[in-house]
């Protein structure tokens, strides 16, 4: 196909492209009337539109079902101008393209506020409205019967007419569209689009204005469609509303999807297939069914589309391209946006974090790249270039500008607010509500230049919400955020980023279509200048080269330069963290926000990370850190702020905070809940010889690439309460989810001697393991009684017996007995209950299944002490009824008094285990939660 000109840089593609181009040029001669050129003209016109849609939907992720409207607008504007105003096509054609672009700009601004499904439907609605106008504005458009007498192009007296002329004209249009679109994809603009597609939040935090970029690509796609439409109008000389209906928009989307939605050659391929298929069907179907049933093609189209989407969601071109790689080169080579590079290399250890000179960086990157150097910077390392951009100048090296700050921070870690310095960041009375929930309440603090300021707090304390407000992706409900004395609350995130604030995310948000270096280059967006036109015409060479070398610098800084040319999808989790960090550092921020940078990393990786963060601080960057891993945080932070339930409960040096009784209570709980109940638990514990009913051994699990649990084993017997304790992020919830079949895992889970690992969650709950999950997972809008009845769902099916209304009613009474408040509120929706009542409902619902093992995930989280005592009492009653109870908790001190045995999870492994009454007094317990010296015989 001629479209291979648009293929990516691999060398053999150039030959292919050249051959395609020659074929395109001589094709009219070859065919010599045997096949109508009109088919090719349609292919070229449709391909032009599909290319625009590919950029819009495939790269930017904004799926539109309204492209036919712009195609139609282009055709009608040029048609109306020549027919009614007598304008020359040479004037009406550009007028149609520009006019449509302008309309798209005006319409796009509001319509692109829509997302996902709603955008699809909104653009579809737009298409229908436009076609209705074509039909109804008789005076202008000629109504349903259309507009005739559209002038052809002419030069002097020579009228340009006929297939051959339009064959070349439409072909050139398509080639230009493909060339410029491919250039755009590989520019700063294209990277921004792909970033927006992957995560608008991450893109905006990296300094990209999503609204503007979405609008630009929308207008670009409309312009391409309008150019195709206008050319069609002059080619055919007659237009009517029907080719511009939404059905054609659907077909256009189909072309883009079949070919491969995120690829320019794919769009061309899809258009070719669709046109050829249609022509083929039109000549075949009448033979089969007699009548002229041209619309039969939609069956074939529909089935084909469904098949492609289900069987090969990425479309045909990526497959063909990989096949070509193999056939033509006999080896993988760079193709498309950085695919095909040998991937899946082992995790590189985070080596020395040394700042290499530029050429060393290039050398480090080169051996992994394709033989043809991926970029000029790597081949011809130039001296350090200072990139243009106002932020670059101010943010380039704040440490140098203020060496005192850096040295104070370095020499006096934990020095705290040195009186004379102005805070870099000042937060005053910050509050954020979500509906009725207050995530952050009246929070105030100051962060000084050149310090590492850590924010810690138990689950749901509001830490991430706080970050989101500082970085501008979430607006505060009230309060102020000042950066250098300037209010930044209410500014969109990309403006905040432009002021020198960079951030990372709890789960790294990378852009999967880009390679590692390009991911980092996204962080440079605001320091680059190349505009839309410059990018489309590929006049960005020097700036791109400089940006790439700066991205390599950042990768060197995080110790992973060898990752540069690799597609990020195949990389391990640790590498994702590092690439994201490099992206943040590449922007040369003044303030760096790190959201749980250590989670998912191994011990060695954590130490490297700590060193790197210190190094960044010493270079003068102020760091704010949110972290679950408290020991990690304590060793790193200059100052610590502790939040609990959205409020600050302590602030100061790490050593002070660790000893603060309120902090200890927040993390470990206190004993006032159930400890003083005076039950004879010591005796009870020994009386039981736990005959394990649930036996978990060597269980490992994680989320995608994030390993969370490593080789965890525990057991619980009937009539026993076993606690699984651990700090935030230790893997407690993951463990529960894995046991219940909600998360794939390896190892073994035996229930009543039978292996249940790998069974679906429904089946496991049916067998008799009930989970009271974290955050309760109630059916919020349904009544209390409905929730309870659904707890008995498995008893209504399978096993062949209906439990009968009587049995369910009896169990209901039992639950109402345990929790009288639920009976009182049985007709109210679950979400109207208080937190404690919801927890009771969650437990009651689990009991309705008559389980033999009950798993409780953080049942005490956020509850008042009295409620805690109530719930602990009920748990004890259930144990006495012979249930095996696993109690997952952070509040060790609160629950240990009622437990028989306990396991302590730390970073996904069992760190301690033993009898509950012994563990209660073990000093190691506090060390696991809050860091500090550890030693002791219980530790494995």
């Amino acid at each position: 196909m001629t479209g291979s000109t648009a293929a990516a840089p691999g060398r053999h593609y150039r030959w292919l492209a050249a051959a395609g181009l020659v074929l395109w040029a001589v094709l009219p001669l070859l065919l010599a009337g045997r096949l109508s050129l009109s088919i090719f003209i349609l292919i070229y016109l449709y391909a032009t539109i599909a290319i625009g849609l590919s950029l819009l939907a495939g790269y930017a992720g904004q799926v539109s079902l309204g492209q036919a409207a712009f195609y139609g607008l282009g055709a009608y504007i040029t048609g109306i101008l020549t027919v009614h105003a007598g304008l020359s096509p040479w004037l009406s054609f550009p007028a149609a393209v520009l006019g449509t672009g302008l309309l798209a700009y005006v319409v796009g601004a509001p319509i692109l506020m829509l997302r996902g499904h709603y955008l699809v439907v909104g653009t579809l609605g737009l298409n229908i409205v436009v076609t209705v106008l074509f039909r109804q504005l008789y005076g202008l458009t000629g109504g349903p019967s259309g507009l005739t007498g559209i002038l052809p192009f002419s030069i002097g007296d020579v009228v340009l007419r006929g297939n051959v002329v339009y064959y070349y004209a439409s072909g050139l249009l398509m080639l230009a569209a493909a060339w410029m679109s491919s250039n755009l994809i590989r520019s700063r603009f294209g990277r921004a689009l792909q970033a927006i597609h992957a995560s608008e939040t991450a893109a905006e935090s990296a300094g990209i204005d999503p609204t503007r970029h979405k609008l630009l690509v929308f207008v670009w796609s409309a312009v391409l469609a309008a150019a195709a439409g206008a050319m069609y109008a002059h080619y055919v000389g007659f237009i009517s509303p029907s080719p511009f209906g939404f059905e054609f928009s659907v077909q256009l989307l189909m072309m883009a999807v079949i070919g491969g939605i995120a690829s320019v050659p794919g769009a061309v391929l899809g258009a070719a297939l669709a046109v050829l298929l249609r022509e083929g069907l039109r000549s075949v179907i009448p033979l089969l069914v007699g009548a002229s049933a041209a619309e039969y093609e939609i069956v074939v189209f529909g089935v084909l589309l469904a098949a492609v989407v289900i069987l090969s969601p990425e479309g045909l071109w990526p497959r063909i391209s990989r096949w070509l790689d193999r056939v033509l080169a006999g080896r993988p080579a760079a193709a498309g946006a950085g695919s095909g590079v040998p991937a899946r290399q082992p995790v590189p250890p985070m080596g020395n974090v040394v700042r290499l000179p530029q050429d060393a960086a290039a050398r480090a990157a080169a051996p992994h790249g394709s033989p043809a150097p991926a970029n000029p910077a790597a081949a011809n390392p130039a001296p350090v270039r200072v990139l243009p951009g106002p932020a670059a100048n101010t943010a380039a090296n704040p440490g140098a500008a203020n060496p005192a700050a850096a040295s104070t921070a370095a020499g006096n870690p934990g020095g705290g607010p040195a009186g004379s310095r102005e805070p870099l960041l000042k937060v005053e009375g910050l509050t954020r509500r979500f509906g009725g929930l207050v995530a952050v309440r009246d929070l105030s603090f100051e962060v000084y230049p050149g310090e590492i300021f850590a924010i810690m707090g138990p689950n749901g304390a509001g830490k991430t919400t706080l970050f989101n407000m500082i970085s501008g992706v979430l607006r505060p409900t009230s309060g102020r955020i000042l950066l250098d004395g300037r209010p930044i609350d209410g500014l969109p995130a990309h403006r905040v980023a432009a002021l020198g604030v960079a951030r990372t995310f709890q789960t790294p948000r990378l852009f999967p279509l880009l390679d590692a270096a390009e991911n980092v280059m996204v962080g440079l967006h605001q320091h680059l200048r190349a505009g839309f036109a410059v990018s489309a015409l590929r006049m960005t060479g020097r700036e791109e080269a400089a940006a790439r070398s700066r991205a390599l610098d950042a990768l060197v800084q995080v110790g992973s330069p060898e990752l540069a040319p690799q597609p990020v999808d195949a990389l391990p989790f640790g590498a994702h963290r590092m690439i994201e960090l490099a992206r943040a550092l590449a922007a040369r921020p003044r303030l760096l926000l790190l959201d749980e940078p250590a989670s998912g990393l191994t011990g060695a990786e954590r130490q490297e990370l700590a060193r790197l963060i210190r190094q960044v601080r010493d270079a003068g960057v102020t760091v704010i850190l949110v972290e679950h891993d408290v020991p990690f945080l304590m060793q790193l932070a200059d100052r610590v702020l502790v939040v609990h339930h959205g409020e600050a409960i302590a602030q100061g040096l790490p050593g002070q905070v660790r000893r603060d009784p309120r902090v200890i209570a927040a993390y470990l709980g206190d004993e006032q809940g159930g400890g003083d109940d005076g039950a004879p638990l010591d005796g009870a514990a020994e009386a039981k010889a736990p005959d394990a009913i649930l036996e978990v051994s060597s269980l490992s699990a994680g989320y995608g690439r994030v390993p969370v649990l490593r080789d965890v084993s525990f057991q619980v017997g009937a009539g026993e309460i076993v606690a699984v304790l651990g700090a935030n992020g230790a893997g407690k919830t993951t463990l529960m989810r894995a046991v219940c079949g909600l998360l794939p895992a390896t190892g073994s889970v035996r229930y009543e001697g039978r292996e249940v690992l790998g069974l679906p969650a429904e089946r496991i709950s049916e067998l008799g393991i009930a989970l009271v999950p974290e955050r309760r997972q109630l059916f919020d809008t349904m009544s209390v009684e409905d929730n309870l009845i659904l707890g008995a769902y498995t008893r209504f099916r399978g096993r062949g017996t209906d439990p009968g209304a009587a049995a369910v009613a009896r169990d209901l009474r039992h639950v109402y007995d345990l929790f009288p408040i639920l009976h009182e509120k049985r007709h109210q929706p679950a979400r109207s209950l208080s937190g404690g009542q919801q927890q009771m409902l969650a437990i009651g619902r689990a009991l309705m299944a008559r389980p033999r093992v009950l798993l409780l995930d953080e049942p005490l989280l956020g509850l008042a002490p009295l409620v805690v005592a109530d719930i602990l009492n009920v748990i004890r009653r259930m144990r006495d009824d012979g249930l095996a109870v696993v109690l997952v908790e952070q509040n060790a001190a609160t629950v240990l008094p009622i437990c028989d045995r306990a396991y302590v999870l730390e970073a996904g492994r069992i760190a301690l285990s033993g009898e509950a009454r012994r563990l209660r007094r073990a000093p190691e317990l506090q060390a696991v939660f809050l860091g500090g010296a550890v030693g002791g015989e219980v530790r494995r």
Binding site: V63, I111, M113, L114, G116, Y118, V120, V121, G122, L124, G125, L126, I128, V129, V132, L133, R135, Q136, S199, E200, T201, M254, V257, A293, E295, Y296, I298, V299, G302, V303, L304, L305, A306, V309, I310, P313, N468, V473, L474, R475, A493, E762, S765, E766, L771, P773, R776, Q777, L778, F779, D780, T781, M782, D786, I789, L790, Y793, F796, R845, A849
Partner: protein, 299 residues
């Protein structure tokens, strides 16, 4: 006809059209809330309901038998379609957009099948009871009353089923909280199929009821489905009573516009309303920042 009379007449037709849209809207909400699929093909189920009934009548099956038989056939068809085309994609945890494209593909394919089976002809069905009835100033066909009555009955049945049967509750639970539902042992994936069949049944009924008033063709479904969608979007795709109100409102506005503007603008009215509503719903996200709106979509 006085203006007043005309307005009342339009109001009545609008409400009756709105009731048809409401059945489709409810079907879309059932499916969307349990599966996150916007079922573009729902209109085709209306087509199939109407045309299968036509064929059964032609084959000599009595009307009262033909309708339930057609509904049952359409529900089986829908469950099969879900099982073959959508469940595999859902199990591979395909994104919302992939599912949307599959359902567009289904719409095309089913429309094509209808074309093959019934051609481009228009068919009609007899009114359930022929004749007209005079209410206040308006003269209505008795079919309008059938539509209102049956729609009300179906909505009542849905309400009872969703609130008082275990299976109905389980279906709601799968929509409200899929994770919680799985923990209770509710097979959420299979519930998607049940939702699909249920919505197809609703659509088929609406197709059968509207055919006596406006002819049935192979491509009648899409516009019907879209109108239902507009009503459902008014309710944010999750609230049943508001969906019904939204659809009734749409029906009335549309009938008024059709009566008072040139008739060709009828479809445009629905979609201008749709775009306006979508934008209005998108506004709060703007106030809260990009994260809020992004998560509202993932939801």
């Amino acid at each position: 006809m006085s203006l007043e009379q005309r307005l009342i007449q339009l109001l009545a037709t609008g409400i009756s059209n709105g009731a048809i849209y409401a059945l489709l809207g409810l079907g879309l909400v059932v499916v969307y809330s349990t599966t996150r699929i916007v079922n573009v093909a729902i209109g085709e189920f209306a087509t199939f309901g109407a045309l299968i009934t036509v064929s059964l009548l032609a084959a000599g099956v009595p009307f009262p038998v033909a309708i339930p038989a057609a509904l049952a056939a359409v529900m089986v068809l829908a469950a099969g379609v879900y099982r073959v085309a959508l469940q595999p994609a859902r199990q591979k945890s395909a994104g919302g957009l992939t599912l949307l494209i599959i359902s567009i593909a289904l719409h095309l394919a089913l429309k094509g099948v209808a074309l093959i089976l019934w051609g481009t002809r228009s068919y009609t069905l007899p009114a359930f009871t022929p004749g007209t009835v005079r209410i206040s100033l308006a003269v209505l066909q008795k079919q309008h009353l059938w539509i209102l009555g049956l729609a009300a009955l179906v909505m009542l049945a849905l309400w009872l089923g969703f609130n008082y049967t275990v299976r109905g509750r389980a279906l709601r639970a799968s929509a409200v909280n899929p994770v919680g539902a799985r923990l209770m042992g509710i097979p959420v994936m299979a519930m998607g199929g049940a939702a699909f069949a249920l919505s197809a049944g609703l659509a088929a009924l609406s197709g059968v009821m509207i055919t006596p008033l406006s002819l049935a063709t192979y491509d009648m479904g899409f516009m019907l489905g879209l109108k239902g969608f507009v009503g459902a979007v008014l309710a944010g795709l999750h609230n049943y009573p508001v969906t019904v109100l939204g659809c009734l409102f749409l029906g009335v506005v549309e009938a008024m516009a059709a009566g008072l503007l040139p008739s060709g603008y009828r479809d445009a009215v629905a979609f201008i309303m749709l775009i306006a509503v979508l934008l209005w719903r998108a506004l709060p996200a703007l106030r809260h920042g990009v994260l809020y709106s992004e998560e509202a979509v993932r939801e």
